[in-house]
C-alpha cells in the first residue's frame, strides 16, 4: 500500500507572543509549510487542525473553518481534532488516515494554541481539564501535582533522584540553543534547575514545560505525488494511537504509561523496524519526569533506568538515541495543540538534513511520542526518508 509523504514543514517562532493572535500564528505556520512544500493553495484538498482548548484560551472555536478562511483556501473540507496535549499528533494521524483512505490527496495539517491571552491561574485550570476534571482537578490535583505523584513514586520504586529530574531540562535547553523557533534558546545549568521554585514537590518550575503561544504546520500528500512538489519528501512509516484510563489513579502503575508502551511497539512493528533503527526521537516532556518515563517506555532504557540513561548521555545529540533535539516541550515551548505537529516538523528537518547545528548525522528514521493528559492518549509516529 502506498505511503503518506510529508513534503512541507513550518512553524512560527514559539513564545509569549503578546502582539499576535491565534489566527496570525496559525497563518504564519501554515504559509511557511505551504511555501516549503512547493504546493499551491489550489493543490490542497483539505485542512486538519489540532487544538486543545482555544474556546477557553481565546474564546474562539470552529478552528477548521477559521484556518481555511484565513489562508484564503476557500471551499474545502476543514477538520478540527482534539486529544488534549496530543491534539497535534491526532491532527497528523487524521490527515494520514484521510490520505491513506484515498479520500484526500494533499492536505495542510496544523496545530496551534494561544495560551498567554489568559492569566497563569486560568491557564493552569484549562490544562487540568486534560485530566479527569471531576475527580482530580476538582479536588485540587493540578496538572503538575499529577506528574509530581508519578515522580515521587518513580523515586521510591527505582531510586530516581532530584538530580535525574533536572537532567532532561538541562539537555533540552542545550539543544534549543540551536533551534531558531524555540521559546528558550539558552542553556540552563543543573544547579539552577535544582534550585528553581517548587510547583508541586518534588517538581519545580524548571521541570515543567512553559506557557507558550505557537503554531506548526505540515503539508502531507500521497506518496506518488510527493516528488512532483518536493525533492526531499519524508514518509510516515507508522502511525499508531492508544488510550488508557483518563484518571491517573485508575492505572495499574503510575511509573509507566501503557498507552505509550503499546503504541510504540505497534508502530515499530508496523514500520518493520527495531528500536535500534531509530536515529532521532521526539518524546513528550511536558514535565521532566515524563521524559524519564518515556525514555523507558519506548525502550531506550530499562524500566527505572531512564534517569541514568539521560545521565550517561545516551539521549544527547551525538549519543546513541538522541531525544528532543528541538529542545522538546521544555525549551521549544509547549503550545498544547501545536506540540504534536512541531515534533513531526523537527523529525522531518532532521531526516532532510536541515536541522543545522542540532543535526543528527545521517538520520534516516525518527520516532515521535505525543501524550494527551497524563498518558490517557498516546500517539506515535515513525518518519523515514
Amino acid at each position: 500500500m502506498s505511503r503518506v509523504a510529508i513534503i512541507g514543514v513550518g512553524m512560527c517562532k514559539f513564545g509569549e507572543l503578546w502582539e499576535l493572535n491565534l489566527r496570525d500564528i496559525t497563518l504564519e505556520a501554515g504559509m511557511y509549510a505551504i511555501f516549503d512544500s512547493g504546493v499551491r493553495g489550489k493543490d490542497l484538498d483539505g485542512v486538519v487542525i489540532g487544538n486543545m482548548s482555544a474556546g477557553r484560551f481565546t474564546g474562539q472555536e470552529h478552528l477548521g473553518a477559521q484556518a481555511a478562511d484565513i489562508g484564503g483556501l476557500g471551499d474545502m473540507p476543514a477538520y478540527s481534532v482534539e486529544a488534549a496535549c496530543a491534539s497535534g499528533g491526532a491532527a497528523v494521524r487524521q490527515a494520514y488516515m484521510a490520505i491513506k483512505s484515498g479520500e484526500h490527496d494533499v492536505m495542510l495539517v496544523l496545530g496551534n494554541e494561544k495560551m498567554s491571552d489568559v492569566n497563569q491561574s486560568e491557564a493552569m485550570n484549562t490544562i487540568s481539564v486534560a485530566s479527569d476534571w471531576e475527580y482530580e482537578g476538582m479536588f485540587g490535583a493540578t496538572f503538575p501535582a499529577l506528574y509530581a505523584m508519578m515522580a515521587r513514586r518513580h523515586m521510591k520504586e527505582f531510586g530516581t533522584t532530584e538530580e535525574h529530574l533536572a537532567l532532561p531540562t538541562v539537555k533540552n535547553h542545550a539543544n534549543a540553543v540551536h533551534n531558531p523557533w524555540a521559546q528558550f534558546q539558552r542553556a540552563v545549568p543543573k544547579e539552577v534547575v535544582m534550585n528553581s521554585g517548587l510547583l508541586a514537590d518534588p517538581l519545580r518550575v524548571l521541570h515543567s514545560a512553559p506557557v507558550t503561544d505557537g503554531a506548526a504546520g505540515l503539508v502531507m500528500c500521497r506518496e506518488d505525488l510527493a516528488k512532483k512538489y518536493s525533492d526531499t519528501p519524508v514518509y510516515i512509516e507508522a502511525s499508531e494511537q492508544r488510550s488508557d484510563t483518563l484518571a491517573l489513579h485508575d492505572r495499574k502503575s503510575i511509573t509507566r504509561m501503557d498507552a505509550v508502551i503499546n503504541s510504540t511497539k505497534s508502530a515499530l512493528k508496523e514500520a518493520n523496524l527495531e528500536l535500534d533503527d531509530i536515529d532521532v526521537f521526539e518524546l513528550h516532556d511536558s514535565f521532566s519526569i515524563g521524559e524519564i518515563i518515556l525514555t523507558e517506555d519506548v525502550g531506550i532504557a530499562e524500566k527505572g533506568e531512564g534517569g541514568k540513561a539521560i545521565e550517561e548521555g545516551i539521549t544527547e545529540i551525538g549519543g546513541k538515541f538522541p531525544v528532543n533535539t528541538s529542545g522538546g516541550l521544555k525549551a521549544r515551548g509547549h503550545p498544547v495543540g501545536a506540540t504534536g505537529v512541531a515534533q513531526i516538523v523537527e523529525l522531518a528537518l532532521q531526516l532532510r538534513g536541515d536541522a543545522e547545528k542540532r543535526q543528527v548525522d545521517g538520520a534516516e528514521k525518527g520516532l515521535a511520542v505525543n501524550i494527551g493528559g497524563t498518558g490517557a492518549t498516546s500517539i506515535v509516529h515513525i518518519v523515514g526518508r
Binding site: R56, M138, T142, M149, D250
Partner: protein, 141 residues
C-alpha cells in the same frame, strides 16, 4: 465557567459526600467513582452500589505550591493518591498533618471537608479529604 455548574456538583453529592462507589459482582472489583460499565466484564458485569470504608494508605503524593484561584488560600496543601483497603485508588487532599510528615504508605481515613468554593458567591463544594488515622478513633496508627 462550565466546570462551575451547580448541577454538576449537586448530582454527585451522594458520591463525593460518602465515598460511595460501586462493585462488580461478576469480577469482584471495586470502583470509585462508580463506573457505569465494568471495564473488565462489560456486558457480563453486574454493578451495585458500594459504600467504601474510607480507610487506606498513601500511594503517592505531591505538595502543591502553585494552584488555581479556588485553591490559592490553601497553599501549600498535600494532594495524594490514596489506595483504599478495597484496592481502589482515588485522588484527594491530605489534612491534619504537616507536609514534611507525610510519607508513602501512611495510613489514612476519609473525613468530610469543604473542598472549595466557586468564586466569592458560587457553590461551596464539600466532599472527602483524608487524614492520618489515630488510635483515639479506633484505627491503627
Amino acid at each position: 465557567m462550565a466546570e462551575q455548574g451547580v448541577a454538576q456538583v449537586w448530582r454527585r453529592i451522594r458520591t463525593i459526600y460518602n465515598v460511595l462507589g460501586n462493585k462488580c459482582n461478576t469480577c469482584g472489583k471495586h470502583y470509585f467513582p462508580p463506573r457505569p460499565v465494568c471495564p473488565k466484564c462489560r456486558r457480563k458485569g453486574q454493578l451495585e452500589d458500594y459504600q467504601f470504608k474510607g480507610l487506606g494508605k498513601i500511594y503517592s503524593f505531591a505538595i502543591v505550591r502553585q494552584a488555581p484561584e479556588d485553591f490559592q488560600r490553601q497553599i501549600p496543601y498535600i494532594i495524594a493518591q490514596v489506595e483504599l483497603d478495597e484496592g481502589t485508588r482515588l485522588t484527594a487532599q491530605i489534612v491534619n498533618v504537616n507536609p514534611e510528615d507525610v510519607n508513602i504508605g501512611m495510613r489514612v481515613r476519609a473525613c468530610f471537608r469543604k473542598i472549595k468554593a466557586f468564586g466569592s458567591s458560587g457553590v461551596i463544594v464539600y466532599g472527602y479529604k483524608f487524614e492520618p488515622t489515630m488510635k483515639v478513633t479506633g484505627h491503627d496508627e
